[in-house]
């Protein structure tokens, strides 16, 4: 009898059992491009997707597959595909669901590269997007058109930390027969599993908390297997016939895993955004300690929130776990373990003070990443979101004085001491 293993156990074990021949306890790094076929029959079976297996590492690889199976198990999905970055995952989903003439409804308050892809790149290929406030379910429903192929948002918005009311939006999507695609990078499956709230597809930047150590870029798509792709007019390339594999209907042949099969056969095969096996290994090492790290991330985050909100040098602090956050009630409902370890705050003295603060701290690192074990800081207005127009900046909830803090796992007293140095330097300058 099999056991229904819990999250912490799956973080360590899912996707791999010790190798029967060598006994290797760790997941081996299969640093290979290709796999020797036993005979032509086996080769044909793999090409025709008759059975599972690996034929070329652009499409799948045993080490990468172990990572995929671990993520699928942690999210409670049918299957996952790991790829070279979170943005590659996003692009794979968009191109799997949309063709020229199709439409997307997306959150207006999300990561700059997501906005860029949908606002500037995809229209060149005939795919248009309407951006709406993710906290306004009515606006989301109103924006859905007959040719809408996905509703896209972030569970926790980056960097504004808006929380989407996932069950409400999921119900709207279900009613309108449109899949809800969520970027769940900031929450990770430890804090919240979107499929439990009705989402259909989850995207991760594995680079962040899942990997957790800032050493490897990677992304993943997790298929909830809970969407009916049977509408041949709306999803002709999933319910078929598709050009691949002799006019296959992925929906008829693979049912709940249809989308995964399609992305594997089309996206990975034709675009090739594969993840290297070595990076997959690094990312899996991170996932092994995800539960421990997330608990500590949240503990430190709550300590820092208390410290910042009472600090004389701080103008404002934003985090969904604070009662003052407009989405606090939604956060309590869908993120009971905490709303992630990103805090945004404004420092008294505006843009210049923020700049001095960031340049004066020594322990926290000034860089363009989040979710590292180490504490990280950035000024989004001049970096990650600098390409956005003033209007788009405002729409995304960004201000000049905003500092984005990714709370790390250091001793909390050391983080506070470091920040004091920054605040003192900023105050001195302003005086």
């Amino acid at each position: 009898m099999s056991d229904n293993y819990k999250f912490d156990t799956l973080s360590l074990h899912a996707g791999h059992i010790p190798d029967k021949e060598t006994g290797s306890r760790a997941v081996p790094i299969y640093q290979t491009t290709s796999y020797v076929f036993k005979d032509t029959e086996e080769a044909a079976a793999l090409y025709n997707m008759e059975v599972g297996g690996h034929l070329y590492s652009r499409i799948s690889n045993p080490t990468v597959s172990a990572l995929e199976q671990r993520i699928a198990a942690l999210e409670g999905g049918t299957s996952a595909i790991a790829c070279s970055s979170g943005m590659a995952a996003m692009h794979l989903v968009v191109t799997a669901l949309c063709s020229s003439g199709d439409h997307i409804v997306a959150s207006s308050k999300m990561y700059g590269a997501n906005i860029n892809l949908l606002q500037h790149t995809m229209p060149r290929f005939g795919v248009e997007t309407d951006f709406v406030n993710p906290n306004d379910p009515e606006a989301i429903e109103k924006a859905i058109k007959p040719n809408t192929k996905m509703v896209f948002g972030e569970v926790i918005g980056n960097p504004g930390l808006d929380i989407m009311d996932v069950p409400v939006v999921a119900e709207i999507c279900k009613k309108n027969r449109v899949p809800l695609v969520l970027d769940a990078t900031f929450n990770t499956p430890f804090l919240m599993q979107p499929f439990n709230y009705g989402a259909n597809i989850v995207i991760h930047s594995l680079t962040k908390w899942l990997g957790g150590h800032g050493i490897a870029i990677g992304g993943a798509i997790v298929n909830g297997g809970n969407f009916d792709w049977g509408d041949k007019e709306k999803f002709p390339t999933i319910s078929g016939p598709h050009f691949a594999l002799g006019g296959i209907s992925f929906w008829e042949e693979f049912g709940p895993s249809a989308l995964t099969a399609k992305i594997r056969a089309e996206g990975m095969y034709n675009f090739g955004p594969s993840l290297s096996p070595t990076n997959a290994f690094y990312l899996m090492q991170g996932i092994e300690t995800l539960p421990l790290r997330m608990k500590k991330h949240m503990e430190n985050t709550h300590e820092i929130l208390t410290y910042l909100k009472d600090h004389e040098a701080v103008e404002w602090v934003k985090h969904p776990d604070l009662e003052t956050h407009p989405d606090h009630e939604v956060a309590k409902k869908i993120l009971p373990k905490g709303s992630g370890s990103i805090i945004v705050f404004g420092i008294k003295g505006g843009r210049k003070a923020g700049q001095i603060f960031i340049e004066s701290v020594q322990l926290a690192s000034h860089l363009a990443n989040v979710g590292d074990a180490k504490t990280l800081l950035i000024h989004p207005g001049s970096t990650t979101h600098s390409h956005l127009s003033s209007e788009a900046m405002k729409e995304a909830g960004l201000t000049d004085d905003m500092i984005r803090l990714s709370v790390g796992l250091e001793d909390i007293d050391d983080i506070k001491k470091d920040f004091e140095k920054g605040f003192r330097a900023a105050k001195k300058l302003i005086k």
Partner: protein, 270 residues
């Protein structure tokens, strides 16, 4: 492919190939609360090997409309009519779990119909505990989760799949969730009430193959072995996995079935 059969939209998988019933036809029949996707790694494999493959969704299961059959006999009659409708001949029947009971009954009622019969994780009796019967009625989704957990071995629990990136539990639940809500309850009741298995097992006079699972909690190995012993001419194998062995050990199962089919062809030549 979708057909209109007995007045209902009915899905019959063909393994991604056009149905050509002038060849040996392998008919795969799923178990309780399952559908054609139970055999996702067998249907395409054997279709591409040149067999004619039929993998129907029983009424109310998967993509098929209609109400689920209420007894094993009713299931067998439905399949007989479908095989006639599709003009299938030289039929090798493959049943999984409840599908094994259906195969037994089909062969008992129509002894000239099949040329071979394969039992996957099967037995000639499948008593169902009252707890699961009640749960399938009161909270089918919870029953799906329970069956998916019980139905897999260690590989399933640890999300080890030969299909890259797949999770047995996530896949298993969503396959069951495609069916109409009372499909599992009616299937389990049909299994529980079937009492003719021993008699039907003794009547098998065609070459039979049984592939059993060492860690089967749905149709325990002990029961499967007892069943195999009753059959006159039955080759048997035991695989190191749980009840859903088509998913946990697809390659091994396919090779065993292939070898059996080869032997079946040779018997005809002699």
């Amino acid at each position: 492919m979708f057909i209109n059969f007995k007045g209902a939209k009915t899905y019959v998988g063909t393994g991604g190939k056009n149905l050509e019933t002038n060849k040996t036809t392998i008919c795969f029949i799923h178990g309780s609360g399952q559908n054609h996707l139970s055999f996702v790694q067998q249907a395409r494999y054997f279709a591409y090997k040149g067999y004619s493959v039929i993998v129907p969704d029983m009424p109310g299961h998967g993509f098929s409309d209609g109400n689920p059959c209420r007894s094993i006999k009713e299931n067998a009659e439905w399949i007989y009519d479908l095989l006639k409708e599709l003009k299938a001949k030289d039929i090798v029947f493959v049943g999984h779990s409840q599908g094994c009971l259906v195969g037994l009954e089909l062969n008992k009622i129509y002894p000239e119909l099949l040329k071979g019969i394969i039992f996957v994780a099967g037995s000639n009796t499948i008593p169902v505990n009252q707890f699961l019967l009640d749960l399938a009625s009161s909270n089918p989704k919870k029953a799906y989760k329970m069956m998916v957990t019980w139905g897999h071995g260690k590989d399933g629990a640890m999300s080890i799949a030969s299909w890259p990136g797949h999770s047995h539990f996530g896949e298993g639940f969503n396959v069951m969730n495609m069916n109409i809500e009372d499909a599992l309850k009616l299937d389990l009741e049909a299994c529980n009430e079937y009492q003719d298995g021993e008699d039907a097992s003794k009547k098998i006079n065609i070459p039979a193959l049984a592939v059993l699972a060492k860690y089967d909690q749905m149709t325990p190995l002990k029961s499967g072995k007892k069943f195999v012993d009753i059959i006159n001419n039955c080759e048997s194998h035991i695989l190191d996995c749980g009840h859903f062995l088509q998913a946990e050990r697809p390659k091994e199962l396919n090779l065993i079935i292939s070898s059996y089919l080869d032997k079946l062809e040779n018997i005809e030549i002699i």
